[in-house]
Amino acid sequence: MLKAETSLGIIFFPAFDWAISPTHPEREERLLYTQDQLREEGIFDIEGIGEYKPDVASVEDVERVHFCFPDVDAVATRSHMISAGGAMKAAELVMSGERRRAFAMTRPPGHHAMKVVHGSRGFCNINIEAVMIESIREKYGHKRIAIVDTDCHHGDGTQDIYWHDPDTLFISLHQDGRTLYPGTGFPQDMGGPTALGRTLNIPLPPNTSDEGFLMAVERVVLPILKDFKPDLVINSAGQDNHFTDPITNMNFSAQGYAAMNEMLAPDIAVLEGGYSIQGALPYVNLGICLAMAGLDYSHVREPNYEPERIRQDQRTTDYINKLCDVLPELYFNPPPFQGGDRDGQGVISGDVFTRRKNIYYDTDGISENQQETLHLCDQCRGVYKVETSSSSNPLSLGVEIPWNACPHCRELGHRLVEEAQLKGGGYRYIQLINRKDREYLRYGF
């Protein structure tokens, strides 16, 4: 009988009754063959591996993270709440010690969902990793957390949520934004002025294969993780780097994914994208499950796997080599904050940081304009404020008081909300996230 070396909890929630549209890549069939493969392999009979059902995230779990306009119910379906709840269940299994590791294979995904939500971007409405992470911090204290996003698309939503958080390290490996949605994720994006180097982007050229991915993990990700010393490592596990994925151009294999997972040794993995539902997902997800459980994955192979045919060329290897030389410096010795409104980095004036953003929600066709402000404070993380309007919502306001707010900033946060209410008419909706006192308020509904 097989026994897992590292105990593993698997939360499998294929949402067999939910889809964006019948032929959309993010549809009911997506995890069907993964389920078939896992069942046929008898993975849940392995000693130390257990299957769990997801929790359901509450509105408060989402409001702890996001400013949703007009409200959570308007932007998130039940399926989204369960998907986030699946990630929360994974966290709970690990934090409570019931399992050493956990893998939430839920859908829909979440890593394109940003701090402010007006609708769906890149098939994502709420950021399931962020909802999970903040539920951990709410219950178990303010942990240092590293997120390694290995989805083929830049994890722009997660990056946005943690842009100003020095306690969350966000590393995204992805296909170069010049060749793929969402077109972001470049090395110069290193985080806001109070969290410089806590965001690290590793854009890889199209056709990168196992060799390139594993090199980047080995030479860039692992040394940084070692230095950051996170309490938890989370893998945003998108499986769309696979050589058969229909919407991307990379050449990663199931063996590569399993090996990468073995190197990262995440405490929690959360499924993100991956749309080669027949040729990749069953094998990649199986390989990851085995690797997470510390079991032999060497017999896991795609039916049409020919390593020679998908091997990256020398130019690609040389290019990634160079990236690996320079990228770690951005974390270890980030250049001082330069700012500049034109390149989207924002500007500091006095003790206020300001940044303007235009965001397009491709799945729902919504355009959003926002201006975010961070009141810099040397006692705490500082009060965050965002003014936003979109083609589906008039001008609205979000204010966040950080978990470690000093009395002054706590006061400031409340004042900003009060003034906005008194002004009247200025903002259609106002939301307050008060992490200090765990109070989540909405006005104007």
Binding site: M1, L2, F12, F13, P14, A15, F16, D17, W18, P22, T23, P25, R27, E28, E29, L32, Y33, Q35, D36, Q37, R39, E40, E41, G42, I43, F44, D45, E51, Y52, K53, P54, V56, R78, S79, I82, P246, Q278, P282, Y283, L286, L290, L295, D296, S298, H299, V300, R301, E302, P303
Partner: protein, 568 residues
């Protein structure tokens, strides 16, 4: 008239039951000792005792629950099996090797049933030559995803048994194909199940031969004979000859079905069969017993053999009383019979005797034993007895709660199931077994639920055996892109058009189930065939709909053919 025989660990119980429009009535019953090394003797003796009390010409059916296969496996009296597998990519199949003559043959079929790589003929021939050199006469052939496409299993079967029909042949005496064991996905379980099916095949068939001969001698040659399964149903004897593994662990099922026959269960309920050494806990949802989701373990091997969900805990009337720290504990060990029956260690039954809750054997001996034990631990005798009984009731309560929680936390796969999913909330308790009546009040105090001890509970297991119906299930899998419909357990394959849909699949599943049972001589009302799972997924190629992937599961659920007539 229906006969039921339950070959248990200590006793073989038999009953004759008469069924009319008012329900069933037990008209004869007996208990004889079980001779483990001569089960036929126990069955014969029990049968003779019953036939002395009834008119044998009235007997129409005999249902038999036997420990034969279980014992053979536990005692290692099993035959060498040649196990041939086609695994393809995934977990290394050598992890699931059940025996020496185990051979992995190159080849692979994927989750949709496409052959990705043909079976290696050369390796297959070598494997068979090796088995034959070792004198192997029975073979299990198992392919990964064979329940989607049995091509590799069929090829291995043909190679192992060099003829096409089921007639005896030179090359092999018996071959089990994995897909015929059921349509569920689980390759390691399929390997183990096929292996055990082969390993007990010869012994079981010798037993069946002897049983049929004995019935003919008694003039019961025309009686329908069914064998009990662990899922709370029966299968015809002819069927059991090729599926002997299904007869394993049918004992608890007979008890549970007994309760079903003796009472009218409508609600979510808990059944407690409190025996000498153990208590079996079963859970009913809306009046129907719950099934183990994947199948039972045989030794350390998980199998695909269906079973009622029954949890056994080490606590019964014979369980020894002990003091651990400040706590009076009962079980989990049995260290001999109660003092009242000549034992040496104080037991739960002795404590119940002391309380006056029952009168088993020499109650004065129980009283003395409780007093001696209490004195040795400097506590009042009545407190000791009370605390022991309370401990037992609490233990049963806690274990039952844990089982119900486990059932309610089982994974579900749709939003609907998760948000509106049924939770099992027990509303009633049914107690059976020796100490049932005596423990009724203490158990009630723990659960605070209506608690019933039905009459006739002494012969409940044999009554259950007698009245248990035939169960059957099948899984239908259709892929309209590949234009194929496949029912693994029947090896039934048919071409379907692109327009084939879920409704048609539901209908086909029910029809095939009814026809299959009909061919086994079992008449089924179509409404007894229940669809328990039905799903249809659109398969997309690019952005075009390429077909539907349809899965339907249909079953005749466990049940009894009649319940006991109410006493007038």
């Amino acid at each position: 008239m229906l006969l039921g025989i339950d070959v248990g660990g200590t006793h073989t119980d038999a009953v004759a039951v008469k069924v009319d429009q008012d329900g069933a009535r037990v008209i004869a019953s007996c208990k004889v000792p079980t001779r483990h090394h001569d089960l036929m003797w126990s069955i014969d003796t029990a049968l003779d005792a019953i036939l002395e009390q009834v008119d044998r010409n009235q007997v129409s059916q005999l249902n038999l629950s036997t420990t034969l296969s279980t014992n053979a496996i536990v005692e290692g009296k099993i035959e060498d099996v040649g196990v041939l597998v086609s695994a393809g990519p995934g977990i290394d199949p050598h992890n699931f090797m059940p025996c020496r003559d185990f051979h992995v043959i190159d080849g692979s079929v994927d989750h949709r049933g496409n052959e990705i790589r043909a079976l290696s003929r050369e390796q297959l021939d070598q494997a068979l030559a090796s088995c034959r050199k070792n004198g192997v006469r029975v073979f299990a052939v198992v392919g990964k995803f064979s329940t989607r496409n049995p091509r590799h299993e069929n090829a291995m079967r043909r190679a192992a048994c060099a003829c096409d029909d089921d007639a005896r042949c030179e090359a092999a005496d018996f071959v089990t194909s994995g897909h015929q064991l059921g349509g569920a996905l689980n390759f390691p379980r399929r390997i183990a199940t096929a292996y055990f099916n082969c390993a007990v095949w010869r012994l079981f068939n010798e037993f069946a031969d002897a049983g049929e001969a004995s019935l003919r001698e008694k003039g019961l040659g025309d009686v329908t004979v069914n064998i009990l399964k662990a899922d709370g149903g029966t299968m015809p004897l002819s069927q059991s000859r090729t599926l002997p593994v299904q007869s394993i662990f049918s004992g608890p099922a007979a008890s549970v079905m007994g309760i079903v026959a003796l009472t009218d269960i409508f609600h979510d309920s808990v059944i407690l069969d409190i025996g000498g050494t153990t208590t079996d806990i079963a859970v009913f949802a809306d009046g129907a017993p719950l099934i183990e989701r994947d199948g039972i373990h045989i030794g350390s091997h998980p199998t695909s053999v269906n079973a009622l969900k029954v949890r056994s805990i080490g606590l019964g009337g014979d369980s020894a009383v002990s003091i651990i720290g400040d706590e009076v504990a009962v079980g989990p060990n049995r260290l001999g019979p109660p003092v009242s029956l000549g034992g040496e260690r104080l037991t739960l039954t002795d404590c119940l005797n002391f309380q006056g809750a029952c009168e088993v054997g020499d109650t004065a001996a129980s009283k003395q034993a409780v007093e001696r034990f209490a004195e040795a631990h400097t506590m009042p005798a009545d407190a000791l007895a009370d605390r022991a009984v309370e401990y037992a009731a609490r233990k049963i309560h806690d274990e039952t709660r844990a089982l119900v929680d486990e059932i309610n936390s089982k994974p579900v796969y749709t939003i609907h199931e998760l948000l509106e999913g049924k939770r099992v909330v027990p509303r009633k308790l049914y107690l059976m077994g020796g100490p049932a009546q005596a423990l009724r009040d203490p158990v009630f105090h723990q659960f605070k639920l209506s608690t019933e001890v039905p009459p006739n509970y002494g012969v409940a297991n044999a009554v259950g055996a007698a009245l248990t119906r035939t169960t059957w299930e099948l899984e239908l899998f259709a892929d309209t892109q590949r234009h194929v419909l496949f029912i693994p357990s029947l090896s039934y394959r048919e071409n379907v058009p692109s327009g084939y849909d879920l409704d048609a699949a539901r209908e086909d599943a029910v029809n095939q189930l009814v026809m299959q049972l009909d061919s086994l001589g079992v008449r089924l009302n179509a409404e007894d065939a229940k669809i328990t799972h039905a799903s249809s997924f659109n398969m997309i190629d690019g952005y075009e709909r390429a077909g539907r992937n349809i899965r339907v599961k249909c079953q005749v659920r466990p049940g009894v053919s009649a319940t006991l007539a109410k006493e007038a």
